[in-house]
């Protein structure tokens, strides 16, 4: 039994009686116990996984209707709620928080008979890009454990890359799916804003974040998107995608398509040499596939990181105000305290990055500073949306490397907040403008992965996945050395 198979091959394996759900689940749990002490992708594994597997096996044997997932083990980022189980957001504040309801994406996976194998590590409240800000310790990159796996959905990326599960769900506010996908050499898709319900996702910057799949192949990403997308009365920002099938014609190719190479995101000054080489190579590959590539400038991309951090900090300041130890946290009794000192004592459980973003989030929209920071950030966002709208009149896709650099070592960037922010340079634009973007594994250089990012216009996931699939087919990467 090969734990490294794709979701689609897993389904075939079950259908052809090559293995049972229980066998595969057991093997996955064994794999987790073997490698996760080192990799730390998981915060918790699901104690009921084997029981769930047996139930699905029974359904299969007795010819009952079985959901599309046929019991495939899927890991879930620990900021997505499952009723009756812990959701910590990798924060001490939510160390004992039991979710009182189930998120829409989990309900959808459950109704298709997926097995939730465990909850994965992240930067605290999804604020970060290396998992170094997890209150429970970082995850490690399976390609080289001295290096970060990316983040914030780092645990999800590691769990898929290291074959601890078939696929995972992450969330992406500024690159948090695509960055670890690139660093761990898996496929990561940030869908159009509103395509996937956020009901049950713990909010960080809810105006721009999305849940999305992280998977071994582009087809698997399309398979999962089919399941988790669609309108939801519990999330008013969702759009009706009319049950579109993203797998249909995924192999249509990109002959004759127009691709814009985003000048600002491929600037040699901002990229490492190896990433630049891989990008130029990918451009040649796209041309060989029959696409026309040309440079396109999006002026506002230069200001996107500053706008992104301004807007997300503001929303975080507001979203995190609820962690007051009265409604959440509830560790110490409220009697004997004065209100403000009680709340600030509760706040002391937040980790350093969350505290910084809360201070920033109080500062940038405040009276006297909003004009300089928050309003300007919103204006940059508006202008960026206009620029994107304009370029998609001419182009089908935009491309760039997903991350300007390759995975870095633990501690290498943590003391320099500005160079840390720059890692997000190529990913935040898709979030600020709401467009879909995918990271496709492209190369392994010096033993570490490089991913290529493809972006498409709003709700053009179908076409986006076609391009990603075309690129993926040209690539033959080594197996993960763990």
């Amino acid at each position: 039994m090969d734990l490294g198979i794709s979701a689609l091959n897993y389904v075939n394996g079950i259908k052809n009686n090559e293995f049972t759900v229980e066998e595969f689940t057991l093997k996955s749990l064994e794999r987790i116990s073997q490698v996760d002490e080192k990799l730390h992708a998981f915060l918790r594994v699901n104690d009921l996984a084997i029981k769930n597997a047996r139930e699905i096996d029974t359904k299969i044997k007795s010819n009952q209707n079985v959901g599309k997932c046929y019991g495939m083990p899927i890991s879930i980022k620990d900021n997505i709620c499952i009723e009756g189980s812990k959701t910590t957001c990798a924060s001490k504040v939510l160390e004992n928080f039991i979710a009182p309801y189930t998120s829409t994406v989990i309900s959808k996976l459950n109704s298709e008979d997926a097995i939730i194998i465990g909850k994965t590590n992240l930067d605290e409240f999804a604020m970060g890009l290396s998992t170094e800000f997890s209150a429970y310790g970082p995850s490690r990159n399976p390609w080289n454990t001295d290096y970060v796996p990316g983040g914030s959905s780092g645990g999800s990326g590691v769990s898929v890359s290291a074959n601890e599960c078939i696929a995972s769900l992450g969330s992406d506010t500024g690159g948090s799916i695509r960055n670890p996908a690139s660093f761990c050499s898996v496929v990561g898709l940030k869908p159009t804003y509103g395509l996937v319900s956020r009901y049950g996702l713990v909010s960080y910057a809810n105006s721009i974040e999305q849940i999305g799949p992280m998977a071994k192949t582009v087809k698997d990403s399309a398979f999962l998107l089919n399941i988790i997308s669609g309108i939801d009365s519990n999330d008013n920002t969702t759009v009706d995608n009319k049950n579109q099938d993203y797998l249909t014609d995924i192999d249509a190719g990109i002959n004759g398509k127009k691709i814009g190479i985003v000048t600002e995101m491929t600037n040699p000054d901002g990229l490492s040499t190896d990433v630049l080489d891989a990008t130029n190579d990918a451009i040649k590959t796209f041309e060989k596939l029959g696409a026309n590539c040309e440079q396109v400038s999006l002026e506002m991309v230069r200001y996107a990181v500053a706008a992104y951090y301004t807007i997300t900090s503001t929303e975080a300041g507001s979203n995190l105000a609820r962690y007051d130890n009265i409604r959440y946290g509830y560790e110490f009794d409220s009697s004997g305290f004065e209100f403000n000192s009680y709340i600030s004592q509760a706040r002391s459980k937040f980790g350093p990055e969350v505290i910084r973003r809360m201070i920033l989030g109080g500062f940038v929209p405040s009276a006297g500073h909003a004009g300089k920071y928050f309003s300007k950030a919103l204006k940059v966002k508006s202008k960026l949306i206009a620029e994107i709208k304009h370029v998609f009149e001419k182009f089908d896709y935009l491309i760039s490397p997903t991350v300007p650099i390759q995975p870095f070592k633990f501690g290498e960037k943590i003391n320099d907040p500005v160079s840390f922010m720059m890692v997000d340079f190529n990913t935040v634009t898709a979030n600020l403008t709401g467009i879909p973007a995918i990271s496709v594994p492209y190369k392994i250089t010096n033993g570490l992965p490089i991913g290529i990012q493809i972006m498409a216009n709003h709700e053009e996931e179908h076409s986006l996945l076609q391009a990603a699939y075309a690129l993926e087919k040209t690539v033959d990467l080594p197996e993960v050395p763990v």
Binding site: R302, A306, T310, G317, S335, V364, K372
Partner: protein, 91 residues
Amino acid sequence: MKNLVTEEEIAHVAKLMKINLEDHSDHVKRVQKMLEYFDILDRANVESEEITVQETDLDKLRDDKHVPYDKNLLKFLNSYQEKYVKAPKLN
């Protein structure tokens, strides 16, 4: 022309956010550095831009109907009395 945000300004905001900076003294400098980077927004030349907001059509919103919720959420709390949350004293 650098217009550095002062430590006092940051400390003031931290207080308003109910964050006790004594626990977090090294954060001020980092927040300062991030704010300094945000100065790049001044170069974006966007003063005359309109701020667009996300719109949702009214017919897309769910009906304004009471949906009964039968789960007792209060049982998750440490401090509550009957159906009220117990909060610390307001001065």
